[in-house]
Amino acid sequence: MNDMTPTNLSGSMPLAAPFVRVKDLRVRFVSREATVRAVNGVTFDLARGEVLCVIGESGSGKSVMMRSLLRLHPKKRTVIEGSMQVGEHDIGAVSDRVLSKLRGSTISMIFQEPMTALDPLYTIGDQIVETVRRHEGLGREAAWARALELLELVRVPSPERRLKAYPHELSGGLRQRAMIAVALSCRPSLLLADEPTTALDASVQIQVLVLLRKLQREMEMSMIFVTHDLGVAAQIADKVAVMYAGRIIEYGTVADVLNRPQHPYTRAMLASTVKDQERGVQLEAIAGSPPDLRALPDGCSFLPRCGYAKPECAVAMPPETVDARGHMARCYRVGVEGQRLAFSAPAIQPSVCTNASQLAAARAEMLGRQA
């Protein structure tokens, strides 16, 4: 800690090769009526033991991106391009047999809705024992002991009794913890967690977050954690990626993205989050709605909702601008000043536009001034 060299500014600069490398990932769903472009060129690296939080509004492609890492999409209707490397495995190229071996051992996933991942017909214990036996070839007794150990690890009270319980017999919080136990049963190197705490109330959510963070550190797991709750990201992330219309539009350390957001969408999202605002004062909601993934425009996908747009924003998707700390944003108004990303907007700002007509007026003014 005492010799902070300039090259080590971000604090956790990985020395070894990254454990997960995703390059220009594109996912589209094809049907007779339309093609839905859910993921449109996602690139990131994740080091061993690092936690990446993916945030973004509903429909921005967070779950689709995660499911791609396990190839969980319907084969026939899905086109996946780009490359995904996890450890020495090329996820796009491995055989189904190898992939099913990887699932639950090297890579494990916690789903948005715990009930869909747990089998209602089997007890929690049977499900853990099953996974452990399949992947580690343990005998029944050893597997059962391991199951008990796992429930203790995730702090399920009276674990012996709970091992014999069916999923519907557990409360939401216990079920989520049981699912974490199942996901951790084979000591995965990469844990994919898709909104694992969204359905929980505040007191249980915090228990699960504290637990996940502790286990992740102890087991040196890499983790990709999807959420739309910025408070959750602040609790658990090392790095944060903000997704919009299937692209990462801002990326950086959790402190850089949450405390020094640069992209107008990230800024708007932070401003709209309810947190100690004065009562009676309107919240700064983001006007408009997310783009139609069946017909994405050529330019910046945030343009129809952006109060800072200028003419070139409509021409092409802005390229990545990255500073010395690895903080990245994709916006024509973000540049690098000195060592860091900096947002530069015209002197007179449309400030906050809370409704569509206000926004349209501000944009017209802005575009007129720039043209």
Binding site: S58, Q205, L209, G231, A234, E284
Partner: protein, 361 residues
């Protein structure tokens, strides 16, 4: 009336639907109780009871927003359904704008159902998937006797009011809407019967943050325009602080604390409220929580702990807490400015070592 913290908005007294006057609470809940029987065996005998709502009293001032918070399973939705008369209560009274509800002399049930409307958490399952949304909104007024033409015109007007362009959305089906849009439809539907009190049960919890802000702004606008009173149930403590005038905290079927929102958030009296508030997540990554403020799960509501129901998880628990249930005080006689908590530590002479010394009159 001068002591009321939340003076009713000026318009309240001009509302033609008003019967009891501006000082009369919109709704008084007096000692309401609901135990769900657990049946077992071939004879289907009741073997135990879930004490979901256990002797709850409070009132809602005209024009205010009363927030209700508490952990999952503490009885918030059961309480809401009792107020709406969707389930029968075992005990207690409801007084709507001065009139007893559902008893021989009082307001008839369908009058109550008109005046009180509810928006549920699960916006998906509460809309009929086979009805275009215009018809979903018009359904209630039609059942109440409005002509199809009138109901339709009103539905379109309401859609505009909740920010959905009628000519774009009227003919769409629920599956063609986003979560935020569906929740707007649900709000429009609840408003179709011209209610005075809207109960919002986790109405924004399933929405993502940017849509949540839109819907919260909408609720504030509608409240002013339509002279509404809200009961707002949520597990998001940030949202409750933003939207509420007063807050009621529930634990295991009972009220443990009630008071003006700033008093509750800045100076919580009950250890449960303090722990619950500590569960709010900061957006600053420097402020990480190292240990969960509330350990374990709430006890089983079939056999709630003796004395103070929170004693099994309370860091200040003493002998008196196990033997004697602390009282909240007389909520119905208190003013809306009063801050009440059911904990032995705040009651002089309770026998708890941290209680203030008994004051002699």
């Amino acid at each position: 009336m001068t002591q009321m913290a939340i003076s009713p908005p000026a318009a309240a007294s001009e509302d033609p639907r008003d019967r009891g006057g501006p000082a009369q609470p919109m709704l008084i809940v007096d000692g309401i109780r609901k135990y769900f029987p657990i049946r077992a065996g071939v004879l289907n005998r009741t073997v135990a009871e879930v004490k979901a709502v256990d002797d709850i009293s409070f009132y809602v001032v005209k024009g205010e927003t009363l927030g209700i918070v508490g952990e999952s399973g503490c009885g918030k939705s059961t309480l809401a359904r009792l107020l709406m008369h969707l389930i029968d209560r075992d005990d207690g009274h409801l007084i709507l704008d001065g009139d007893l509800v559902g008893e021989e002399t009082g307001v008839p049930l369908d009058g109550l159902r008109r005046a009180l409307q509810m928006v549920f958490q699960d916006s998906y399952s509460s809309l009929n998937p086979r009805l275009p949304i215009e018809q979903s909104i018009a359904y209630g007024p039609k059942v109440q006797g409005a002509s199809s033409k009138v109901a339709k015109a009103q539905a379109r007007a309401l859609m505009e009011k909740v920010g959905l362009k009628a000519n774009l959305f009227a003919q769409r089906y629920p599956h063609e809407l986003s979560g935020g849009q569906k929740q707007r439809v649900n709000i429009a539907r609840a408003l179709a019967l011209d209610p005075r009190l809207l109960i919002l049960d986790e109405a924004v919890s399933a929405l993502d943050k940017s849509v949540e802000a839109q819907v919260l702004n909408l609720l504030e606008d509608l409240k002013r325009q339509l002279n509404l009173t809200y009961i707002f149930i949520s597990h998001d403590l940030h949202v409750v602080r933003y939207i509420s005038d007063r807050v009621l905290v529930m634990y295991l079927g009972q009220v443990v604390e009630i008071g003006p929102v700033d008093k509750i958030y800045e100076d919580p009296q009950h250890p449960y409220t303090q722990a619950l508030l500590a569960c709010r997540l900061s957006m600053d990554p420097e402020e990480r929580v190292e240990a969960a403020p509330l350990a374990g799960d709430p006890p089983n509501p079939v056999n709630p702990p003796s004395g103070c129901r929170f004693h099994t998880r309370c860091p200040f628990m003493e002998d008196v807490c196990m033997s004697k249930a602390p009282s909240l005080g007389d909520v119905l006689r208190s003013s809306a400015q009063d801050h009440l908590a059911a904990c032995h530590m705040v009651h002089p002479g309770s026998g708890h070592s941290r209680a203030p010394l008994a004051v002699r009159a």
